[in-house]
C-alpha cells in the first residue's frame, strides 16, 4: 500500500494551469509591438507535457486524491490524452491561421490552454461540485473563443447565444446536483451510487438525474438541445469550431458516462430508454438538417449533432461494451472532425471567405494534397471501412446490438445512409473540374498546420486500421469505471 502525493493525481491540470499562467505573464511583459505567435508554441509545449504526464499517471495505482474529489484511472487517462491531443492540434492549427498581431493572439492561446484545464479536470472529477466548476471553466473559455471574431457581427451574436443558452443549461445541471444533495445528502458520485437506491424520496432522485441529463446533453449538442450548434460553429472561426465540436464534447461525454454508469446505475431502466430516444432524434434531426445546408460549416455542425446521436447509441449497450464503444467513438470522431475543420480553415481562411459548397469546387485540382485529405476525412465521417469513423460506428452499433437494441441499430444504419448523401456531395464537388473563371487562391500550408493535419490523418487512419490498441485502452477505462473503488469521504487512501 503506497500513498501517492495528491498533486500527482492532478499533474496534467497543474501543468496546463502553469503553462496558462506563464503565457499570460509573458504576454503582459513582452513589448506590445512584438508578435504573440510564439506564445502558441509555449502552449503547444505545455500541452504536450500534460499529455505525457497523463500517460505517466497510468503507472500510479488507481485511486482518488484531495479528499476523494478527483480520480486517476485508465478512464481518466484515456480522456486526458484525447483532450490534450485535440488541444495540441487546435493550437498548431491556430498558429498558422490566426491573423496578424492585432487579434489578441496571446489571450486566444491562453484561453485554449485554460479551457483544457477545465476539460481535463471534468473527466477526473468524482465529486459533482468539482465537475460543475470544471465544466464552467471549459464553458467560459469556449464562450469567449466563440465570440473572438468581433468584426464579423456573427461572432458576437453566436457567442451571446451560446453564453445565454449555455448558462441556462448549466443552471439545469446545478439544479440536478442540488436535488440529489437534497435526496442523499452528498454530491460524491460513489456515495450517490450507494445512497440513491436507499433514498426516501425516489422522485427527487429521478428528477435530479433528469435535470443533470438536460445540462450535459446540451453540452454534447444532442437533439433536442442542439439549436445553438450551427449558429455557434458558423459564428466562430474554424480552428475554434474544431475545438468546440470535439474537446468540450469529449469531456462532457466523460461526465455523462460517469454520471449515468457510476452515480445512477440503479436507474438504468429510467435513463436507458431516454437516451435511446435522444440518440434517435439526434441522428435523424442532425442528418436531415445537414442535407439542406449549402454552408459547409453549418453542414458540419449538423453532422456533429448526428454523430452525438451515433455515440449515444452505444449507451444502449451493456455497461462495459457501451462505455468502451462510447470512449472509442469520441476519439475517432475527434480525429476526423478536427481534421476536416483544419482543411476548412485552410480553404476558407480565418474569416470564412469561401465557406459555401461551391467554393470547394475543384479543390482537388487546385490543391491535390488538401483535396485528397478532405475526401479522406469525408469518407471517414461517412463511415467507410479502414477509417476511424467506420471502427467507431461499428463498435457503437455492435454495443447497441449486443444489448438487443435492434431498432436503434437499424435507425442508425439508415441514418448513416442519409449522411453519406451530404458527405459524398461535398467530396464530389471538390473532385469536379473547377470553373474556368473562378479565382480561388491556393491555400498556404505552414509547418504547424501541416503537422496538425498530419496528426489528424494518422490518428484517423490508425483508428481505422489498428483499432485494437485504442479499443483496448478504452476497455480498460470502461473496467475502471464499472468497478468503482471504495472512496470514503474521509482521506483514507485505499
Amino acid at each position: 500500500m503506497t500513498t501517492v502525493p495528491d498533486i500527482y493525481r492532478i499533474l496534467p491540470e497543474v501543468i496546463l494551469t502553469l503553462t496558462g499562467v506563464l503565457m499570460m505573464l509573458t504576454d503582459a511583459t513582452i513589448p506590445p509591438h512584438w508578435a504573440r505567435r510564439n506564445l502558441g508554441w509555449i502552449g503547444a509545449i505545455g500541452t504536450t507535457l500534460a499529455l505525457w504526464s497523463s500517460l505517466w499517471q497510468l503507472s500510479l495505482p488507481e485511486g482518488t486524491a484531495f479528499f476523494g474529489t478527483v480520480e486517476t484511472s485508465a478512464f481518466t487517462v484515456f480522456f486526458h490524452v484525447l483532450i490534450c491531443g485535440i488541444v495540441l492540434v487546435t493550437l498548431l492549427l491556430s498558429l498558422d491561421t490566426l491573423p496578424g498581431r492585432s487579434h489578441h493572439q496571446g489571450e486566444f492561446y491562453t484561453l485554449i490552454v485554460f479551457g483544457a484545464v477545465g476539460m481535463c479536470l471534468l473527466t477526473g472529477a468524482v465529486e459533482l461540485l468539482v465537475a460543475f466548476i470544471a465544466l464552467e471553466i471549459s464553458s467560459i473559455a469556449t464562450y469567449v473563443l466563440a465570440g473572438y471574431r468581433k468584426e464579423t457581427g456573427k461572432g458576437p451574436e453566436s457567442a451571446l447565444k451560446y453564453f445565454l443558452l449555455g448558462s441556462f443549461a448549466t443552471a439545469f445541471l446545478l439544479y440536478g446536483i442540488a436535488l440529489i444533495f437534497g435526496a442523499t445528502g452528498t454530491t460524491h458520485i460513489y456515495e450517490i451510487a450507494r445512497l440513491a437506491p436507499l433514498a426516501v424520496n425516489h422522485t427527487l432522485v429521478i428528477a435530479s438525474l433528469a435535470l443533470m441529463l438536460v445540462g450535459i446533453l446540451f453540452k454534447v449538442s444532442a437533439a433536442p438541445f442542439h439549436v445553438w450548434t450551427p449558429d455557434v460553429y458558423e459564428g466562430s472561426s474554424s480552428p475554434v469550431a474544431a475545438l468546440l465540436s470535439t474537446a468540450p464534447k469529449a469531456a462532457a461525454f466523460a461526465l455523462l458516462l460517469r454520471v449515468i454508469y457510476e452515480a445512477y446505475p440503479s436507474l438504468h431502466s429510467f435513463w436507458s430508454p431516454l437516451l435511446w430516444i435522444v440518440a434517435v432524434v439526434s441522428m435523424t434531426v442532425g442528418n436531415l438538417a445537414a442535407l439542406r445546408q449549402r454552408n459547409v460549416k453549418r453542414m458540419l455542425a449538423y453532422s456533429s449533432i448526428a454523430h452525438a446521436g451515433y455515440l449515444l447509441a452505444a449507451f444502449a449497450g451493456a455497461s462495459s461494451m457501451g462505455i468502451a464503444a462510447a470512449s472509442f467513438y469520441t476519439a475517432a470522431y475527434a480525429a476526423m472532425n478536427v481534421g476536416i475543420f483544419a482543411i476548412v480553415t485552410l480553404v476558407s481562411g480565418y474569416d470564412d471567405r469561401a465557406i459555401l459548397l461551391d467554393d470547394f469546387r475543384g479543390l482537388i485540382h487546385r490543391a491535390p494534397l488538401l483535396g485528397s485529405l478532405l475526401i479522406f476525412f469525408l469518407i471517414s465521417l461517412t463511415g467507410i471501412p479502414f477509417t476511424g469513423g467506420f471502427a467507431g460506428k461499428f463498435y457503437s452499433f455492435s454495443a447497441a446490438m449486443g444489448a438487443g437494441a435492434i431498432w436503434l441499430t437499424i435507425i442508425g444504419l439508415l441514418n448513416s445512409g442519409i449522411a453519406a448523401g451530404y458527405y459524398l456531395r461535398l467530396a464530389l464537388v471538390s473532385a469536379q473540374k473547377p470553373d474556368a473563371d473562378s479565382e480561388q487562391p491556393r491555400p498556404q500550408m505552414g509547418v504547424a498546420v501541416s503537422a496538425a493535419i498530419a496528426l489528424c490523418f494518422l490518428a484517423t487512419l490508425v483508428l481505422g486500421i489498428l483499432p485494437n490498441v485504442t479499443l483496448h485502452a478504452a476497455q480498460q477505462g470502461a473496467q475502471t469505471l464499472q468497478a468503482p473503488i471504495a472512496a470514503p469521504p474521509s482521506n483514507v487512501t485505499p
Partner: protein, 174 residues
C-alpha cells in the same frame, strides 16, 4: 413567529422579484433586486443558516449590488423602451405558467410527500463551514481561482476596443 416572518418576507421577496421585471429603469430594477436578496437572507436565517444569511447580506445585497449599480451608472443606462413582447411568449408562455403552477400546487397540496428538510444539523457555525470548504472541498475551492481568472481574461479579450491593437495604443499613448 416563524410562519409570520416567513410569510412576510416571502411576500417581500416575490413583490421585489415582480417589481424587478416590471420596472423599466435599470436602477429601479437593481434596487428591487436588493429587496429580493435581503428577503432571501431572512429565509436562510429562518432555516438556521446564520453564516449563509450573513454572507448573503454582505456579498449579494452588499458587494454585488453596489457593483451592479456602479455599472448601470457608468453605462448611463436610461429608461428602457416598452415593447409589445413576442406573441409566442403570450400564446404559449402564459398557459405554460398556469399549467406549471397548477401541477406544482397539486403535488404540494395533495401528495405531501416532499418531506421536511432543514439545514440545521449539518452546517451552522463558521467553523464547521470552513472545515467543509477548506478541507473536504479544498480542490473545487482552489480551482475556482482558475475559473475567475479565465473570466477576467475573457472579459479583457472581448471588451478591448477592436482596431486599436496594443501596438497602436502604445503609439497614441506616446
Amino acid at each position: 413567529m416563524h410562519v409570520i416572518l416567513f410569510a412576510l418576507f416571502a411576500v417581500f421577496c416575490l413583490a421585489g422579484a415582480i417589481n424587478l421585471l416590471v420596472q423599466t429603469h435599470p436602477i429601479n430594477s437593481a434596487l428591487s433586486l436588493i429587496v429580493v436578496m435581503t428577503s432571501l437572507a431572512v429565509m436562510y436565517l429562518l432555516l438556521g443558516a446564520e453564516f449563509l444569511a450573513a454572507a448573503q447580506v454582505i456579498v449579494y445585497a452588499g458587494a454585488v449590488m453596489v457593483l451592479f449599480t456602479f455599472v448601470i451608472m457608468l453605462l448611463n443606462a436610461g429608461r428602457e423602451e416598452r415593447t409589445r413582447g413576442s406573441s409566442v411568449a403570450r400564446t404559449i408562455g402564459l398557459p405554460a405558467v398556469v399549467v406549471i403552477l397548477a401541477v406544482l400546487a397539486t403535488i404540494i397540496l395533495h401528495v405531501q410527500g416532499l418531506g421536511n428538510t432543514s439545514l440545521g444539523q449539518g452546517i451552522t457555525t463558521t467553523e464547521e463551514l470552513s472545515t467543509v470548504l477548506f478541507h473536504e472541498l479544498l480542490l473545487p475551492f482552489e480551482v475556482t481561482s482558475v475559473l475567475i481568472l479565465i473570466a477576467i481574461l475573457g472579459a479583457v479579450a472581448l471588451a478591448r476596443v477592436e482596431g486599436s491593437s496594443p501596438d497602436d495604443a502604445e503609439r497614441t499613448g506616446q
